[in-house]
Symmetry: C2
Subunit: 164 residues, 2 copies
Amino acid sequence: MSSPLAIREIHARGFARAWQIFRAVVAAGDTYSYPPDIDESQARAMWTTPPSRCFVAERDGEALGIYMLRPNQPGLGDHVANCGYMVSPHARGQGIASAMCEHSLALARRAGFTAMQYNFVVSSNEGAVRLWQKHGFAIVGRVPGAFRHARLGPTDVFVMHRAL
Amino acid sequence: MSSPLAIREIHARGFARAWQIFRAVVAAGDTYSYPPDIDESQARAMWTTPPSRCFVAERDGEALGIYMLRPNQPGLGDHVANCGYMVSPHARGQGIASAMCEHSLALARRAGFTAMQYNFVVSSNEGAVRLWQKHGFAIVGRVPGAFRHARLGPTDVFVMHRAL
């Protein structure tokens, strides 16, 4: 039997544990618009500088997934949360994205957010789209060709949303 | 006869000329999600720190409108431009937003962007929605209640897009 998955918050000083996953996911160029050659300090700043908060999902001390939670807008839009999730290429198909999504929804609700919005879900990432739909998200927008997919070229991007 | 409108780029040091317009538009709480009590240094940083570029539309030396152009995403999404436009409350109905939109579209095209996206067009701002449609933008998304309008309360937000 595998140990349970633990999800806990990390801060800038602990970002090294997240960086290997961040780098691997972004380097693939198939799900995130971050520059594929982004460096650790840039990634750390974006994911750990308040109001962004960063979390690691781990099992037996090994980091298997990371996610970031923040207000999607400042000021008069800061009641809507935004998240980004990344799973280690070695840990796919274990329900880690799903567990992080559930964790983030509960956390966002407790923090007072009344909705969550994903701005940039790459349409070719069909597994993710289905997973977010299973977790209550609806596609509320589709932006043509907004992502230059490393293999597929210009690819549409979905805006997804759910109330909390 | 009124003098022609001139549109020129400004940088951080020249932002004071833009600030009066920025402050007045944001304080109204009906079109932008920036905190209504945002201060000049925060506004200046957001609108003039590269890759953001800031422009002033002026007539007879008086600033009547301002706009900001930037990539909407980093990395693999940086072929899509994003803009925000603000017109002085004293200069509405003179075609200034339209002139700035035309200017920004031409500039974005020259800079190599292949599309432009507005992420946060407040749906109650019907004049703006119609104006962007007239300039070739389509509504590609609608996010429910994403803006806390100062008078109307929770208000839907449009994502608008056009190819360049």
